[in-house]
Subunit: 221 residues, 2 copies
């Protein structure tokens, strides 16, 4: 016997409905929300831990951590004392708006200004699922190569900001990465994208990102 279920619009709209619910909840509370997306190992968690620490007293950040398995990233965020909710997708390649919805109900929204969702490490699938966020932030490590905007255009087209991370690896000359090419290719896809060249490890360039973050959060509250 074959089972029949309704496909297409129904499945898509379930995610959309939750995304709209999340967006309403965040707007009602006057909270800003960013959805951070990158390949595995681009440095999202390191960017977040440094950002939370350096912006203490300026912006109160809460984190929703998306991972297929483990609590490793949530543990790193927890060490900064920021509120964090871990979602384990158990194999799924992206966060869904429904998962984010239940995380938003657990995170102490009244005591934070900004929710950052760290999506599953994947440069492809998460870009297709709206979570109710105000904007997406894409992270690209210089070790991944400068052809990524051309090869993975969706996420670069849809993001408000691009963080080019691990620039501390460039001076050794061991990595071929043309920052100007990445900037030009990203702006060809998305003329308004804000681009910050940073090292979350050494803190180089992080101030530009912090200024943008503070301005963006204040504008929305």
């Amino acid at each position: 016997m074959s089972k029949k279920i309704q496909l297409g619009t129904k499945i898509l709209s379930a995610n959309e409905e939750y995304a709209q619910q999340n967006s309403r909840l965040l707007r009602d509370k006057g909270k800003h929300c960013l959805n951070m997306i990158s390949s595995p190992g681009s440095g999202k968690t390191t960017i977040l831990t440094r950002t939370i620490t350096d912006l203490k007293g300026k912006i109160r950040i809460g984190v929703i951590e998306g991972d297929i398995q483990t609590q490793l990233d949530a543990d790193r965020i927890r060490a900064t004392k920021a509120p964090v909710v871990q979602i384990n997708t158990k194999g799924s390649c992206h966060l869904s708006a429904a998962q984010v919805n239940s995380a938003l109900l657990q995170i102490p929204l009244d005591s934070i200004d900004l929710v950052i969702i760290e999506n599953v490490g994947n440069l492809v699938c998460p870009s297709a699922f709206e979570l109710g966020e105000d904007g997406k932030v894409v992270v690209l490590s210089v070790a991944e190569g400068d052809d990524k905007p051309a090869k993975y255009p969706a996420i670069f087209s849809k993001s408000k900001a691009l963080l080019i991370n691990k620039i501390d690896l460039l001076p050794s000359g061991a990595i071929d990465f043309d920052i100007d090419k990445v900037k030009a290719d990203s702006r060809r896809l998305n003329k308004d994208i804000k681009i910050f060249c940073v090292s979350a490890k050494t803190a180089e360039g992080m101030n530009g990102w912090y200024d943008w973050l503070i301005k963006t959060v204040r504008k929305s509250s």
Copy 2:
């Protein structure tokens, strides 16, 4: 009006059926096939171009290139004179067995010994779709961090070989990456996995990978 289609088993088995067709075709021709999977920017294409060049006269390699967009990787393979077929998935996060089937019909199978499928840059989704290959090879760059087997266990569990790439970046001390931890975590998931620490850029460690590749291809022909 809502549309109804049959889901679940039907959709899964369409991929399975093509995978079985691919497997039969390869077996009938006596050709070995590997499915190479990694995050974006781990160095799959650089590994392939060096492998093809260094193994000239020993193994004749053909490549099926999976990318969301662009012919960039196929152009790099083509420069080695190896036969290559590019598949652009136009947004899809993994290759399907049906796409590989049509590529296998285009590639000159009779004049090669080994087909390497370079999957879409994604450490998650491609691991769930069998393509009819004899084995999977996972690539992890040291720049991605040593927590990846724990966080993305599926592909490490299913692969015959792991290439830890970009080891030329380690001596500078700019990257924290514990090779022994990655080896131990990978072997906990998959006791038989072969692990090679390589730099496709400098050629360091590539001979171990070549020896394994030659042995594996000869065994199957």
